[in-house]
């Protein structure tokens, strides 16, 4: 309740800001396009603005737009904008389709979704159009499995046709952590159960990839049921999966994503270019479903795991 009120007030404040920014259009330097006014997006935007303000960027030079309003931004305003930030896939899609004079950075965009945006807009990944992925880097995921489930050696992965090309990188990441990858392609919903069963037979842990063809709100229930029956823990990419019954989730919060985006905005404002490679999230969180852990006779502590993983990453 309180949170909803906060969101509402923030939304209201942002709207007022939007109106003010329009009035002082010539001063806009950072344009933030948010797909939705939902809590994660607002958290990300707040973190971004807070970070920028703390680093001396005046609030008045930061403007938040709706994706639908992008096309109607006046030419004069567009010339003053130094950097665009897209929060969410839809915003990224809109910016990708717009002719922008300034570089654009996406955030809160999953890897698969960004690939789709690139395909749809014809953009290349470049300093002018880059993204901070929402998904965690494969190496981090594998490292977490290694840390959390040291007894597990075989990692099962289900990939849809669109994501099948990640098979190789997954295998590399797995072997880098001393794990064997068992990847299976799922062509359609009918084949899901058969694929799942074949993967589970040869795996100690199932690593979920953010591929909506395989993992979506309708399939997750049955997938979870199947994995629990097969006594194979599921490592997911979102805390929601942990709430639904996955053992672990590795993810970045919107605040973390906003802060990371702010870092790169400051870089651009400081006259530097964005990197040409996609940006992996540098901060992350880990969730644990204690109930599932108990069923699987595991003892896991999310904070400890996070710290351990962070520490491991900091080591060369």
């Amino acid at each position: 309740m309180t949170r909803r009120w906060q969101i509402l007030l923030l939304g209201l404040a942002l709207s007022v800001l939007c109106w003010q920014a329009r009035a002082q259009a010539p001063g806009v330097r950072v344009a933030v396009v948010s797909s939705q006014l939902s809590a994660p997006h607002m958290d990300a935007a707040q973190a971004l603005i807070r970070q920028l303000e703390s680093r001396g960027v005046p609030r008045s030079s930061i403007q938040i737009y709706n994706p639908a309003d992008v096309a109607s931004i006046p030419e004069a305003t567009q010339t003053t904008i130094k950097v665009w930030v897209a929060l969410g896939t839809q915003a990224a899609m809109v910016l990708g389709k717009s002719r922008l004079k300034a570089p654009a950075l996406g955030a809160l965009v999953p890897r698969a979704a960004f690939e789709r945006v690139l395909r749809a807009t014809g953009h290349q990944l470049s300093p002018q159009f880059n993204v901070v992925y929402l998904d965690q880097p494969l190496s981090r995921q594998m490292a977490l499995i290694r840390l959390a489930l040291p007894e597990s050696n075989r990692v099962g992965v289900l990939l849809g046709p669109d994501a099948w090309h990640r098979n190789a990188s997954l295998r590399d990441a797995a072997s880098a952590n001393g794990l064997a990858l068992r990847a299976t392609q799922v062509d359609d919903d009918d084949a899901l159960f058969a694929a799942l069963q074949s993967v589970l037979e040869d795996s100690d842990v199932l690593l979920a990839q953010a591929d909506p063809l395989v993992f979506n709100s309708h399939s997750i229930q049955n997938i979870l049921l199947t994995t629990i029956r097969a006594n194979v823990p599921l490592i997911a990419f979102s805390p929601a999966y942990v709430r639904a019954g996955a053992l672990l989730a590795l993810y970045s919060t919107p605040t973390q994503a906003g802060a990371q985006a702010a870092h790169w905005v400051l870089e651009v404002l400081a006259g530097r270019q964005l990197p040409a490679q996609p940006l992996e999230p540098d901060d992350f969180e880990i969730s644990v479903n204690d109930q599932v852990a108990r069923v699987l006779a595991l003892t896991l502590d999310a904070q400890a795991l996070r710290l351990a993983l962070k520490q491991q990453e900091r080591q060369p």
Binding site: P212, N216, H218, S238, Y241
Partner: protein
């Protein structure tokens, strides 16, 4: 019948709304109950199908036929479930349980939940993967929401309708039973209530009927039977009051009628006494008048036969006319009294009119000549059925009357065929002074004369039309009078026609005088009145009869013993010492040992006398006897006697 009719109507009036309401309510409640049962059935079945679908979700996802079969078998344990089928999204039957007849159904994917075709108890429920709200960020980006609409498969459940039908039948039976019981209760109630109304009504109705028939005492009886809580108590009380009042009024009326009747009877008796007194007086007066006038007539007749000088002859003629007038008056009175007493015997016969007309014309010709009037008789060949003597008197009176009241012109007697072929009209026309409309009824009354306040003797006595009318009534002939003042009068007599016959005995008609037929015959005259006897004897002698006379039976017997053999006996009816002419004649006939012709002469107008004479086969002459009539009778009697003697 009336009772049952009222009862039926009342029952109908009371029952019809109850029955309708009963039916309506039963219908509404049964219908809504059926709806409820149906709804419950559908709801329960649907929920069974839904639960089954939920249970099947993972089994279908995993295509786990063993699990699905177990679920299907488990669903069979639900009441009314006959068959369960679980199909995957391709329509393949993965599991089924129950009666086999549902297994052949094709897999149909339609709306999430459906009642298949015409089978109301077949439910299908599509099975979807249950959704789970996940992370907004990934959901926003996946863009594959539409794919979730595809179902995992479907569940088909067939339910038995039998329990529902049984329950409906049960409710229907119960409802029908309650309705019938309600109706029966209504019938009994209505019958009892209506009886409470009908009985007093019928009682009142019977009471009115009895009062209508005059039984006023019924009211009192009914009143005694009714109680104060009777619904029609007030009505009955009023009826009783009315009946009592009617009874009183009737009593009063009866008393009044009785009083009036007795008063009228007294008046009538008084009037009758007065009439009898008048009749007695008239009879006595006429009897006493007849004797001297009878004698006077005969003396005048005798006198006229003698030789006289011219002056005396004229005087005698006037005397004769005066005597004839008196005689006519007395004849008229006699006729009236006889007609009034209905003592006239009618002899209906068929006869031709012509001869009757001629006789009337002959008899009245002198009167017409005296007044210098033309009396015409139109020749007539028709026959009629009537009494010739009475008809003669009628015509004589009508024509005589016409002549008397006509000063110039003439009188016509004619017969004409009537519009009715069975009838005939005899008409008497005159050119006299006519009768005013206001007098046309009065002319038929005794002694009424138009335009003769001075009562001139030549105009008659005013008895003619009265005699005519009474005679016509007796004969049943219709008499019509049409007249205009100053333009003459026409009397029309309508009587039945008869077929002409060849043989006609002329003797039936009153014969004209046949003088000298039996001259010199011996006639015995018996009369206790010396004057009358003397006049008659002298008259008979003047007609050349041998006459002996006696004042009674004894003298007569002596005359016969003395050797007088009468050919004819003429006797007065009433003789000295209460002796009667009839007895005298009978005894004389005994003495003579032969039925000597005889005739009676009487001064009484007593109808009984006429009957007695007829019984004794005697001709009765009334005083004053006209000499001509007497002469004609004598000659006829003597002729008949002569003929019978010749035959014997």
């Amino acid at each position: 019948m009336k009772n049952s009719d009222i009862r039926r109507r009342m029952l109908l009036a009371a029952l019809l709304p109850v029955a309708l309401l009963c039916l309506l309510l039963s219908g509404v409640f049964l219908f809504s109950r059926f709806e409820d049962i149906n709804d419950n059935y559908q709801l329960r079945n649907r929920s069974v199908a839904r639960q089954l679908a939920l249970a099947c979700e993972f089994g279908l996802f995993a295509a786990n036929q063993e699990q699905l079969q177990a679920i299907a078998l488990g669903a069979l344990r639900e009441p009314d479930v006959r068959w369960v089928g679980i199909r995957d999204r391709a329509g393949r039957l993965l599991a089924s349980a129950g009666e086999a007849n549902g297994a052949g159904l094709p897999g149909v994917f339609g709306p999430a939940e459906q009642i298949v075709g015409n089978l109301p108890d077949m439910f299908t429920q599509a099975v979807y993967a249950s959704g789970l709200k996940l992370d907004d960020l990934y959901e926003e980006s996946n863009g594959f929401e539409h794919r979730s609409a595809a179902p995992l498969g479907q569940v088909e459940v067939m339910f038995s309708h039998q329990p529902v039908s049984d329950k409906k039948r049960e409710i229907l039976l119960l409802g029908g039973l309650i309705s019938i019981l309600g109706l029966l209760f209504g019938v009994v109630l209505a019958a009892r209530l209506s009886a409470g109304v009908i009985r007093p009504m019928m009682r009142v109705s019977h009471l009115i009927e009895r009062i209508g028939h005059g039984d006023f005492a019924a009211a009192a009886r009914v009143q005694a039977n009714t109680s104060a809580d009777d619904p029609l108590h007030a009505l009955q009380e009023n009826l009783v009051r009315m009946a009592n009042r009617l009874a009183n009024v009737q009593q009063e009326l009866e008393q009044q009628v009785a009083t009036t009747t007795s008063a009228l009877r007294e008046k009538k008796e008084e009037a009758e006494l007065a009439t009898q007194a008048k009749s007695r007086f008239l009879a006595a007066a006429s009897h006493d008048l007849r004797q001297p006038i009878h004698a006077l007539g005969m003396f005048v007749a005798r006198l006229s036969q003698l030789q006289h000088d011219a002056a005396t002859r004229q005087l005698i003629d006037k005397l004769d006319a005066s005597v004839r007038a008196i005689q006519n008056l007395l004849d008229g009175l006699l006729d009236i009294s006889r007609l009034e007493a209905r003592a006239v015997q009618i002899k209906l016969q068929d006869f031709p009119l012509q001869e009757l007309f001629e006789r009337v014309a002959d008899d009245l010709a002198p009167l017409a000549q005296d007044k210098e009037l033309r009396l015409r008789v139109r020749p007539c060949t028709l026959w009629v059925r009537s009494d010739s003597a009475l008809l003669y008197r009628i015509l004589l009176n009508l024509v005589g009357n016409a002549l008397r009241y006509t000063e110039q012109g003439g009188v016509l007697l004619a017969c004409r065929p009537s519009a009715d072929p069975t009838q005939l009209n005899i008409e008497v026309w005159d050119s006299g002074l006519g009768i005013a409309p206001e007098h046309q009824e009065a002319v038929f009354k005794e002694f009424f004369q138009v335009g003769n306040p001075a009562r001139q003797r030549t105009k008659g006595m005013g008895l003619g039309l009265s005699i005519v009318q009474r005679s016509c009534q007796l004969l049943n002939h219709r008499l019509q009078l049409s007249s205009r003042l100053g333009a003459g009068t026409r009397f029309r007599l309508t009587l039945p026609r008869a077929a002409p016959r060849a043989a006609w005995a002329e003797a039936m008609l009153p014969q004209p005088n046949q003088d000298g037929v039996a001259q010199g015959a011996a006639v015995l005259v018996i009369d206790d009145d010396d004057l009358v006897r003397q006049a008659l004897v002298e008259l008979l002698q003047s007609w050349d009869y041998q006459v002996a006379h006696a004042d009674g039976l004894q003298q007569a017997q002596q005359v016969i013993q003395n050797g007088f053999a009468p050919a004819l006996v003429i006797s007065d009816y009433r003789l000295n010492g209460n002796a009667q002419g009839i007895d005298v004649i009978a005894q004389l006939r005994q003495q003579l040992a032969s039925p000597v012709p005889a005739c009676l002469i009487s001064g009484d107008a007593d109808p009984a006398l006429l009957l007695a004479a007829q019984v004794a086969h005697l001709t009765l002459l009334h005083k004053p006897v006209r000499p001509a009539k007497l002469r004609s009778l004598l000659s006829r009697l003597l002729t008949v006697q002569g003929e019978s003697d010749a035959r014997s």
